[in-house]
Structures are given as C-alpha cells and as structure tokens.
C-alpha cells in the first residue's frame, strides 16, 4: 500500500515539476514582455497628441452600452458622468433591464425623456423591448434609453443595447463604472491606427471602493480600506500590468473585461453577441469573435491599453467575493468547454495552440492542482518522512518568488502611473502582497473549486437579481461583472 502511494506521489511530482517550471518561466517572460510594451506605449506619447484628434469630427463613432438593473440610487449621477466623457462622436445607450425600482422614472424625469419611434431590429435575440427614450432637451441629445423586460443576465441587456447602438464601435461598461474622461479616445485609437482590423480593445480597471466620488465623478483615488477589496486591488494591479499587456503584445488576449471594453460592432454581431447563458460572457464573446475572424480568414488585432481608465466597486464581503469568483470559475470552464473544438485546430492559429492550451493548463487546472498538491503534502507528512527544514526553505523560495513578481508590478504601477496621493497607501499595497497567499488566495481556490463543481453538477444559474452598493450607502453588493484574472 505504501509503495503504491509513493509511486503515485512520485508520478505526480514529476508532472508538477515540469508544470511549475513552465509556469514560472512563463511569468518571467510575461513580466519582461509587459515591461517593454508598457515602456513603448508610454514613450509614444509625443507622436500624435490626443488634443488634436479630439477636435476632429471625422473620428469613428462610439456607442457606450451600459445596462442598468435597479440602479435608481445612483443612475442620474452615473449617466451624467458617462455623458461628460470627452470624445467628439459618441452616444450613451442605457438599457433599463426591467428594473423593479424607479430607475426608468428617474431617468425620464431628470433627462426630460420621451418615448420615440425607434426603428429596432433584433440583430441579436433578446428579451422583449418595451420602448426607446430620447431627451427633448438638446443638452442630453447623446442619450438613448432602452427599456426592456428583465432577461436575468447582463448579456441579454447588453445585446439589446448593441442592437440599438448607431455607431460602428460600442463600448461595453457597467453604469456604476467611473470612466476617465479620455477613455473613449484611448480605447478607440488602436481602431484608427492599426493596419490590421482591430476588433476589441480594453484597459486596466481599479477598485473604486474607497475613492472619493462626487456626483458620479472620481475626485480622489484612494486605496481600498476594506479587507477584501484591498486584495482585489492588488490582483488588478498585477493582472493588468503583468499579464494582459504581455498577451496584448502577442495579440493573444482572450479576455477584455466586461467592465470596460471597446468592440467592433459588426464583428460582435456577426459572432452572435453576448451569450445570455454564459457566466463569463466577456471572455466568451472574445473567444467567439476570434473564432469568427479565423473562420473567415480576416487578420485582426485585440489591443490592451496599459492605463487605468475605469474604476469600479469590487465585492466588499467574503460572501459576495466568493459568489463572484464561483461565477468566474464556472464561466471559465464553461467557455473552455464550449469552444473545446478550437483546440489544436490549425486554422485558429495562436488561439488554438497557445492561448486556449494556456487557459486549459494554467487558468483552469491550477486551482485543482493546488488542492491536489496540498492533499499530497498532508499525506506525505503523515505517511512518509519529510525533511521539515527543506520544506520550509523551499516554501520560502516560492513565496519570495511570488512576492518579487507582485512587488515588481506594484513598483511599475507607481513608476508609470502613481495613482495614490499618500505614501501610506502604497505601503498598504505592499503589506497586502505579503499577506495575500495566506489570507486571501485560499478563498479564491475554494471559489474556483466550487465553480467547477457547480459546472459539473449543472447547478441552476441564479444571478439575475443583482443589487448594487451605492457609493453613499452600505448596502450589500451581490454582483460584479468585472472580470479579471491573470490572463
């Protein structure tokens, strides 16, 4: 019995050694790639100034698509904030997703809306539309409100917005996201400079939990003081600066976050729009758009902008956080499973041979291996002699490796951007990095396992009813659509 166990452990180890070495090498390569890409991006700031472009009336038009469900609390400020973005040619499409509160009434009253005879074509199928509203006041001529029946998903609402959008590009966001005023310009630029067809672009997201917000505008950026939110801020900094930028360099982005992404409307519609049953609709859409482009042999690009353009409220309690991560994990496996036929098919190029294998092997498998590893470790302690001193040293090495990578991203964030005004906040970030593997990461692993389990047992999806915590209230927030991961 003992021999069999030892043999099993041995096989597992050999696999793990190879696996972990590739993983670590991968991160080193990604970090280097990211650094160079960010540097180049920042160096290019004197070539063409946005101020000149922003005055042009010939820029590609952008429709902002933002679904709202029971957002009565903050909807007015949020919409004003979106309307005040700086871009010469854009509209704001708010989708009232069958709210049961006074969201629509508030919009109608504040922005002097009337029902209009909107010619609507359901290019992507959604729950029924009740009507379209426009303002009678010329100040708000950029606003379009779509009223629809609740479809129990953000995807369904977004699709209704995409169907109603009039411009060739659409920017997908949440109404409670606070966008920097030059967001559209920054995201749209790749669409106008790239030689290949750009089909999507995204940028970094940060936590707005402790930021000073007035009337829907960000007055001062603050590090989240909430325990759970603070770790997420750290995750965001690292994921966006280290991971995404490197993927963007090799045109390998599979995830443009649902909190902020600009898409080519034609391609998104042809790919079928957001899938309303998906739990990770943002990643799923990009996968499908990639597939569409490859199927039709059209060269394309998906670009990532290394700047923080969007601030959103992240889950502030353990329950909400775990619920969110369970959903992400489930969304991940669902998307990978759904598109499993793309794996290693030559026509899908790097999506088939690099991106999807990476997602399968690392994004998907790692939580499982962590659990297995821990189990094996505990078994070893009980059944086989383990040299404790070596074990502690080895753990220390890996821990410090992780810490180095994380601190490097914190340093870059400070070097390139430096959002926080107080020194203390930067060192809070460092402190959270020290704590993360012990105090935060296990919850993530737990949530991932739970998500996979739900996927396998096909548990009923239940997340249509989302509540939002207002910036002024302390109500519990139960959903957040902003997807990050290390991709």
């Amino acid at each position: 019995m003992k021999e069999i166990l030892e043999l099993l452990l041995k096989v597992f180890e050999i696999f793990i050694v190879g696996f972990a070495s590739i993983y670590i090498l991968f991160y080193v390569a990604m970090a280097l790639g990211s650094f160079l890409a960010i540097k180049r991006y920042n160096n290019a700031k004197y070539i063409i100034k946005d101020e000149v472009l922003v005055k042009s009336n010939n820029l590609v038009g952008v429709s902002i698509v933002a679904p709202a469900f029971n957002e009565g609390l903050n909807i007015i400020y949020n919409v004003r904030s979106l309307l005040s973005l700086n871009y010469p040619n854009f509209e704001v499409v708010i989708i009232n997703d069958g709210s049961t509160d006074d969201t629509l009434e508030k919009l109608i009253q504040e922005f002097e809306l009337v029902k209009v005879d909107f010619y609507y074509e359901e290019k992507i199928h959604t729950h029924p539309i009740r009507g379209h509203y426009k303002s009678t006041n010329p100040v708000y001529s950029k606003l379009l409100v779509v009223d629809k029946e609740n479809g129990k998903s953000k995807a369904d609402a977004s699709n209704a917005g995409i169907n109603s959008a009039k411009h060739p590009l659409f920017l997908c966001t949440d109404v409670d996201c606070i966008l920097r005023s030059d967001t559209i310009m920054k995201l749209a630029k790749p669409f106008m400079t790239s030689k290949k067809r750009t089909i999507a672009s995204g940028a970094a997201i940060r936590a707005s939990n402790s930021c000073e917000v007035k009337d829907g505008f960000l007055m001062k950026i603050r590090f989240p003081q909430n325990w759970w939110a603070s770790f997420q801020e750290l995750e965001y900094v690292r994921a966006f600066l280290m991971g995404r930028m490197a993927w963007s360099e090799i045109n390998g982005l599979l995830l443009v976050s649902g909190g902020l992404g600009l898409f080519d409307k034609e391609i998104a519609i042809k790919a079928g729009g957001y899938w309303h049953k998906s739990l990770g609709e943002d990643m799923e859409l990009i996968t499908r758009m990639r597939k569409y482009m490859c199927d039709n042999q059209m060269p394309f690009e998906i670009t990532y902008i290394p700047e923080s353009l969007c601030w959103t409220e992240v889950p502030a309690t353990r329950e909400v956080l775990i619920r969110q991560r369970v959903r992400w994990a489930r969304g991940l496996i669902q998307t990978l499973y759904l598109h499993r036929d793309m794996l290693f098919r030559p026509k899908y190029g790097r999506t088939a041979f690099l991106i999807l294998p990476y997602f399968w092997l690392y994004e998907f498998l790692v939580p499982i291996l962590e659990v297995l590893g821990l189990t094996a470790l505990i078994l070893s302690f009980f059944l086989i002699d383990v040299n404790t001193a070596y074990f502690i040293k080895a753990t220390g090495v890996v821990y410090l490796f992780y810490l180095t990578v994380t601190l490097l991203s914190v340093l870059w964030d400070e070097l390139f951007y430096g959002h926080y005004s107080r020194k203390r906040e930067v060192f809070q970030l460092v402190w959270k990095a020290v704590l993360e593997p012990i105090a935060y990461h296990p919850f993530n692993v737990y949530a991932s396992m739970k998500g996979y389990y739900h996927f396998l047992t096909n548990k009923e999806q239940k997340w249509g009813n989302m509540q939002r915590q207002g910036f002024t209230t302390a109500k519990k927030k139960t959903s957040n659509e902003t997807n990050i991961s290390n991709a």
Partner: protein, 120 residues
C-alpha cells in the same frame, strides 16, 4: 467692484485672464472644474460667468443651464476648445449664453467683451 467667475481647468489660462481682467478693475474668482463651478454659482454672487466648454466633470452647456436656473440675468460667456463644432455653439446660445469665444482667443478681446456686458 464687479465680480467675475471664471471656470477653466488650465491654470495658466485662468491666471492670465485673471491678470488681464484685474487690470480692468474686476474681481475674478477662478475655479478649475464643473463641480466647483456649480458650487460657486450657487453660493456666491457674480456679475458675470466665463466658462470653458470642456471642463472636468461637467460641460459648459450644463453650467449655462444651471446658472440660468438660478439667475437668468447673469450673463455667461462661453469659451470653446472644441474646434469648430457648430452644434455646441448653437446649443450654448439656445441655453442662453451671451457670448461665445472660440479658442484660441485674444485676451484683450475678451476684456472688451466683458466690459461691454458689464457696463451698458
């Protein structure tokens, strides 16, 4: 002394305009963004408002809208940095702007226009 409220996010511009208008004998209050601008309109007394179209958090049109609600008699001069977007000019006048000055502008011309509005 007549009082002018200047809403402009570029500190250098507001500093120059203030200097120029001080020379004409006006008291100039400067604020940098739309939210401060609305506060100043609500809580202070001003004989004239000069606002840029593109200011943080709000746009000049909203400033006019708000100022007209509080006191329709206070004249508003709009500075534009939007290039030649006619729609904005039309909107500004529809909202009740007294004057519209496209950037780049001559500060001496601005002071002449201020004088005309405040000393009829």
């Amino acid at each position: 002394m007549k009082s002018v409220l200047l809403i402009e996010d570029d500190k250098l511009i507001s500093s120059l305009v203030r200097f120029r208008l001080n020379k004409e004998g006006y008291h100039v209050t400067t604020v940098e963004d739309g939210i401060q601008g609305l506060d100043a309109i609500e809580n202070g007394h001003h004989d004239l408002i000069i606002t840029d179209v593109m200011i943080p958090y709000k746009n000049g049109i909203e400033i006019i809208n708000h100022s007209k609600k509080i006191n329709p008699k206070i004249p508003v001069i709009v500075l534009s940095s939007l290039g030649e977007e006619e729609a904005t000019v039309i909107k500004a006048f529809e909202m009740g702007a007294s004057d519209f000055i496209p950037k780049p502008f001559n500060p001496n011309e601005l002071s002449v226009r201020v004088n005309r509005l405040l000393r009829h």
